[in-house]
Assembly symmetry: C2
Homo-oligomer: 154 residues x 2
Amino acid sequence: MTVSPDRPAVAVDDLHAAEEAVREQGLRLTSARRLVLQALFAARGPVSAEEIASGLNGRLTASDLTSVYRNLETLEGVGIVRHFHAGHGPGRYVLEGDREREYLACEVCGRVEAVPPETLDPARKAIASATGYAVRFAHFPIVGRCDDCAVHSG
Amino acid sequence: MTVSPDRPAVAVDDLHAAEEAVREQGLRLTSARRLVLQALFAARGPVSAEEIASGLNGRLTASDLTSVYRNLETLEGVGIVRHFHAGHGPGRYVLEGDREREYLACEVCGRVEAVPPETLDPARKAIASATGYAVRFAHFPIVGRCDDCAVHSG
């Protein structure tokens, strides 16, 4: 289910634009796909396939988990959706927006935060300078302890 | 199979010391456990359960994958072994050494590199300063493109 990070991204601003983009990519806009898109917009942030299938805990219509995974994969294949891995938790899915985001995940409380890439540019430069590695924290986020948990766990 | 990163670490220098440590932790030194320890020393670096079960591609006796996983988990529970997650690949296992290591994984060629923590201290400081997150790259390594792959993939 890995999608190349180099596939073209299709930024969509709202549900209507997302539905148009699905059709423009030559896909049928099935009710299952519409539900997945609706959930991604309603979530207003990274969301797991399980959360989508549950209808975001009852806020939307619940759907079949296998179907959700299949549709997320299809939407990711055409660049409308992408996923990242937040530590041990399930994969998280987001809509392609008009701006790139990188992520931090707290291994204690499970919090996931999105930051604009410029926030992590100093870290990126320090890593490149020390190791030669070029890093984007978009697919594999930084996993650590958030400021709250770092304080309380010493 | 997650083990707390705060469990005590038992550093072992050679196979004999590792076998002693197993007994000191109140575990039986079964032939399956001895094989796992032997493979971890023979590998001289991070190794997957699959590689251990294959006998490191025929260099050692092959064993049952389920048994390898179970014994790795047991050895990790008492602090002799630990694992980390290198991107999409399988978990990698290492013996606890007398020095902490952090890891970098290349998402293109699959290379995994161990570095002493001081190498990543500047990156750690840059991340803390920008986000408040306290990060060790020991359990979830930095995933990016190594210097060779970064050059060739642009």
